[in-house]
């Protein structure tokens, strides 16, 4: 992973000659220009029409330069004036870019003529050049000296100035309180990194995969992409879909804001559809829309749940629909953007394939480690049921993009999440690992020691540019990540309630800055009430997301959110308490349990507290201490392919039949143990017991 290229080149939608563009890009690279060269981007609105800038260079030197490629017979001076005004008026809307009454940054415009057609004599007010002289002609442009101003220009061009309306946090009075730290974090100017820029703006004529860590900006990137495609192709039918219902509002807000920045107007919701993967009785989803298209009656959630079970309800209905649509093309959408693809069944992709027009602009973003189901993320051919290769060709939009920078989590929390998710410090050995060890580098780790190869020892650490610097400036690892073990659940809940009370009273956090995660889905309601007793007694209002309020709501102002792990996915909070972390330590389906832990830890934007009870928590704390004592470096041996296979076999999710067999076996063993304790059975009289012990010892021996 090259983390510091001089010039990022972003290929938006353009009809320009690729050879011509390539020669300019080479010229800029040879001149060692640092910045971003956007092609076919941005689109800017004026009072009369929308203008797509042919190419735009954003750099500190030679500054911001709009390139206009002159067509035969065109009045280039008028074109330059138009470009200048549209850029100046658009940028002038940003307070951070104004100095007094004028724009604080110079808008340079240059016209590029075919070789030998540059007008003479030159008019200094209207720079003009040919492809071979254009880079030299940039020498006379006005740059952007101030680094802060440059960041603000980047944010404005990338349309991300309004990514999040920041909380005012007016009650924050103490300079070093957690509330004050959060205020500083939220004030940081958002700029897209080079991978996010590519992912947001580049759209190949075919499928595109975006892989990214939790908090790497997948949702923002997809929202930007939807707004950009909608602006570029207002007649396209575009769908944005996702698994977690609470993402709807987030997508709607982001897309509305981004489109407003591009077009100066709201999106046309008849063309741009934000739809849940399934839908509900009152709102369309991709599934219900596809059913209507294929003349099928959609199955509602409650019926599906009773037919296929809670965990497989959506998969069940998608399988039925995909089978009915197989081999048929319905041509509904020109582009489909899918978030949280790791949570969607393969048959959902078959449905998407059927309803998307050629050339199948299907974009899917995912993070494999946030997969809480038993099915791993399928390969691209498996997803679509046909041979599709994703290729990244230089000079063309990329088809396979990894977002390696994590903006949500502190580097310490993320490293801990990976260590616990994979079980890297687990006494009984690793639980899971990437198929391809090189992926560690692509998600922002660097090799400190050893080799990233099968069977090799390696030491990994977060790369210095894989997280924003403000984390190191504002937080410490000791405060960002903490764990706490308890003897009883009640003690644990009392401690959490005390800490939350302290967060609210002394640390100047708001109730909705706090999220308490309950990892075990089955017991979450009872556990919530047990916890709430302590919160209520300290006058701390709380809600159990999706259970004591609607499933589309997650957090509410003035209320501490308690959430089960499924509901917490796709959401985040500055302060996260994970109660009953011990649930994820021992079990038959360790991959799922460890993924739950990974997902829970990666909900935190600043601080995470892992709490739990009993000996299992002590085991987990050993793992946590291992990571902390190693200075958040991951030292381990990369498993071989055979070892990986064995891990998957042992730790995979079990089928319903296997679960039933396990339950029976556990019950029988309990009965035997009880009889042995009561002296009704003598162990000597049951040779099977010795055989069981021997078989277990053999299994535990390292291979």
């Amino acid at each position: 992973m090259n983390l510091a290229p001089d010039l990022d080149v972003i290929y938006g939608s353009t009809q320009l000659n690729p050879g011509l563009l390539s020669s300019i890009v080479q010229g800029l690279q040879q001149a060692q220009v640092k910045g971003t060269f956007y092609i076919g981007y941005p689109v800017m609105a004026s009072a009369d029409s929308n203008t797509t800038i042919d190419a735009l260079l954003v750099s500190q030197a030679p500054g911001m330069v709009a390139f206009h490629f002159v067509e035969t017979g065109e009045n280039y001076k008028e074109a330059q004036d138009r470009l200048f005004y549209v850029l100046e008026s658009n940028l002038g809307r940003h307070e951070t870019l104004r100095q007094g009454r004028r724009l604080g940054v110079t808008v340079n415009v240059i016209s590029v003529f075919p070789e030998g057609e540059v007008p003479t004599p030159a008019d200094p007010a209207y720079p003009a050049a040919s492809p071979s002289t254009v880079v030299a002609a940039l020498a006379g442009m006005t740059g952007i000296g101030d680094a802060q101003l440059y960041r603000s220009v980047c944010a404005a061009i990338q349309r991300v100035t309004t990514i999040k309306p920041h909380k005012k946090r007016q009650h924050v009075a103490r300079p070093n309180s957690k509330g004050s730290v959060l205020r500083s974090i939220e004030k940081e100017i958002a700029n897209l990194d080079r991978w996010q820029k590519s992912a947001a703006i580049e759209t190949p004529e075919g499928p595109q995969r975006i892989r990214g860590l939790a908090g790497s900006g997948k949702t923002v990137v997809l929202a930007l992409k939807a707004a950009y495609l909608h602006t570029q192709h207002p007649d396209w039918q575009i769908a944005v879909t996702f698994h977690t219902r609470t993402l709807y509002q987030q997508f709607k807000d982001l897309i509305e804001r981004f489109t407003l920045e591009h077009l100066g107007d709201k999106p046309d919701w008849e063309k741009l559809h934000i739809v849940h993967s399934w839908g509900s009785s009152s709102t369309d989803g991709i599934y219900s829309l596809a059913c209507t298209t294929a003349n099928m009656i959609p199955t509602n959630y409650l019926s599906a749940k009773s037919r296929f079970g809670v965990m497989r309800a959506f998969e069940g209905v998608c399988n039925e629909l995909a089978a009915a649509m197989k081999g048929r093309e319905f041509n509904v959408f020109d582009a489909v953007l899918i978030d949280e693809a790791q949570d969607l069944p393969r048959s959902f992709f078959h449905i998407i394939d059927s309803i998307t027009k050629a050339p199948k602009r299907i974009v899917w973003a995912y993070d494999e480690l946030q997969n809480l189901s038993d099915a791993g993320m399928a390969s691209t051919p498996e997803l679509f049921g046909r041979d599709i290769q994703l290729t990244n060709t230089p000079g063309a939009p990329q088809q396979d993009i990894i977002l390696p920078v994590c903006y949500r989590n502190t580097p310490w929390a993320l490293t801990l999440a990976h260590a616990l998710g994979f079980g890297l410090f687990r006494e009984k050995g690793m639980v899971q690992h990437f198929d391809v060890p090189g992926l560690w580098m692509e998600i922002g780790y660097m090799v400190e020691k050893g080799l990233l190869d099968d069977g090799e020892d390696v030491v990994l650490a977060r790369g210095p540019r894989s997280y924003p610097k403000f984390f190191e400036n504002l937080l410490t690892p000791a405060d960002a990540v903490q764990s706490q073990g308890f003897n009883t659940s009640d003690e644990q809940y009392a401690w959490i309630a005390d800490q939350v009370a302290k967060n609210l009273k002394e640390d100047e956090l708001d109730p909705d800055d706090i999220l308490i995660v309950l990892p075990e889905p089955i017991t979450q309601r009872n556990e919530y009430y047990a916890l709430r007793r302590h919160l209520d007694s300290r006058s701390i209002p709380s809600s159990l997301a999706g259970v004591t309020n609607d499933r589309d709501l997650f957090s509410q102002a003035g209320i501490v959110t308690v959430s089960g792990i499924y509901r917490a996915k796709g959401n985040e909070a500055p302060m996260v308490y994970i109660a009953n972390s011990d649930f994820c330590v021992v079990g038959h389906e360790l991959i799922r349990l460890r993924n739950i832990l990974f997902t829970a830890v990666t909900r935190s934007r600043a601080w995470v507290r892992l709490c739990g009870v009993g000996t299992n928590m002590a085991i987990l704390q050993k793992e946590i201490d291992g990571v902390v004592n190693a200075g958040f470096k991951l030292a381990f041996r990369i498993p071989t392919q055979q070892e990986l296979e064995a891990m998957r076999r042992i730790n995979r999710d079990r089928t319903a039949e296997e679960k039933s067999q396990i339950r029976k076996a556990e019950k029988s063993l309990e009965e035997v143990l009880d009889l042995v304790k009561k002296g009704i059975i003598s162990p000597d009289a049951m040779p099977q017991l010795k055989e069981i012990l021997k078989a277990m010892r053999d299994k535990e021996k390292p291979s």
Binding site: L302, V310, P541, S542, G546, V547, D550, L553, G558
Partner: protein
């Protein structure tokens, strides 16, 4: 009673009902400032949500569920809402809603989302929803203690039922526990008789702010008071 005491009373009554398996979900009582007063209600903005829609419509019931705008949902998904305004140590207003579930759900639901989905389906097409639930329409009842607006046509404590502008004189304000006991004692006789712990729930008295007014002429008058079963 101050706001803290009211919140504690609501919380502990909900806990009691939960331990008796009489509720499906309950919310944390939430205190917040409303002008010079302290309001205790469920944890959403407002506290007057029930008044913002056509009184007693199915959409209104669904909307309360979706917003989590309730103190607790009884075992049959009837809504119980309690909102109290306190001025120092005095309760100066209350709104206590009992809304018998307008939908009879065949199998218990796991979360509120499932219930909302069932109700929404029932509103859209009762026949489509029939394997899951069926309509069972009954009027909500809201007991308001609203001394600020009291006059000869507006009893200080009154019951809204059937229509939003119907106000049946009620003899005195109620604590949350009293209200819950009245609901069970009146509308769930079987449960009341089979669950003696309900009658033992401790009630506190909410005093009137001033002398009682006479009932409105030609109007029904209720005498639901604490200690009926004492």
């Amino acid at each position: 009673m101050n706001a803290r005491q009211v919140a504690t009373m609501i919380g502990s009554t909900c806990q009691d009902l939960r331990s008796l398996d009489l509720t499906s979900f309950d919310n944390s009582p939430c205190e917040r400032r409303e002008g010079p007063l302290q309001r205790v209600s469920w944890p959403v903005a407002g506290g007057a949500a029930a008044r913002a829609f056509p009184f007693g419509s199915l959409d209104q019931y669904l909307s309360l569920l979706q917003e989590g705008a309730f103190t607790c949902l009884l075992f049959d998904y009837s809504i119980v809402q309690a909102s109290y305004d306190c001025d120092g140590n005095n309760v100066v207003a209350h709104s206590l809603l009992y809304w018998p579930s307008p939908v009879a759900v065949r199998d218990p639901v796991e979360d509120l989302g499932d219930l909302c989905a069932a109700v929404a389906l029932c509103i859209e097409s009762p026949s489509k929803a029939s394997p899951l639930c069926e309509l069972s329409l009954r009027s909500p009842m809201r007991f308001d203690f609203d001394p600020d607006r009291a006059d000869d046509d507006h009893p200080e404590v009154h019951l809204h039922t059937q229509f939003d502008d119907t106000r049946i004189h009620v003899d005195r304000p109620m604590s949350f526990t009293t209200f819950v006991k009245m609901v069970f004692g009146t509308f769930y006789r079987e449960t009341w008789n089979s669950c003696p712990d309900l009658a033992r729930l401790h009630e506190q008295r909410v005093p009137l702010m001033r002398d009682e007014r006479a009932p409105v002429n030609h109007s029904l008058c209720l005498s639901w008071s604490a200690g009926r079963d004492e």
